[in-house]
Amino acid sequence: MNRKIVTAMFIVSLLVVLILAPFASPLPDGLEKVAEKLGFSKFEKQYPISFLFPDYEAVFVNSPYLKVVLPGLFGVAVTFAFTTGLYLIISRVKI
């Protein structure tokens, strides 16, 4: 049963990226809006530490659809791998 639900949820996650993410609202989120209104957005910094896709944008492609979707698909795969790996380490490594 586990394999089926895991596969199904993985496919749904990919579909969310493929179908919904391109239509995501570009408006500022709650914190960004508050930061603009109260005037502390000027403190924002971005450190250039090997971010692959800053702000979820693939700068190397032209298609606006792929710009969003490629980083999203990559993120779904990386998050799955990272979390699974982290859990395996937690459950198996003795301290």
Partner: protein, 214 residues
Amino acid sequence: MHIPDGYLSAPVAIGTYLLSGAAGAFASKKVKEAVDEQKIPLYGVTAAFVFAAQMVNFPVVGGTSGHLLGGLLASLIAGPYGGFFIMASVLIVQALVFADGGITALGANIFNMAFIGSTLVYFVFRFLIKSTKNETISILLAAWLSVVVSAIACAAELWLSGRSSFLVFPAMAGIHAIIGVGEAVITLGIVQALKSFRPEIFSASTYRGGVSSE
């Protein structure tokens, strides 16, 4: 409400790193005690889903958008301590790969959205379902609270960092009270869809004291 680099003072950034580290150490002990290795891929895919869902901003009011945070969803599936690692993983990947949330603010973001938004809110959910015996209301209210309380914690960190006046509290709580409605409705929809498909993926103890799942 991913805090970027530059918003937090050094003491607040370090303090929240320490708090999240302590929460992580405690949660890893708890997970180690009880983890069912067969379920690890399920936790991985829950994190992947939360990541995907967080990309989908929906417009709310006044030129602002929100997106699912997924803290309650994660802890309903993986328990309060497992939920912590699902949310922390998502936040780590977002900060390191996508520059969404600062590196120096990662401790604060994990504290707000993993520890408060997933672990603590799980216990709020347990309390609600025991006292109301109504699963729908408990999910809606706990999911809403997870966003609002995380936002208040975020406001406290900004205020303690000297970046904003006290006004940051009502501003953050107010807009997230609206975004939280989206969180509540989406969380309920996903939980119901998953339950109709595979009710056993919700950890058995989650609904103990509740009415609907056992």
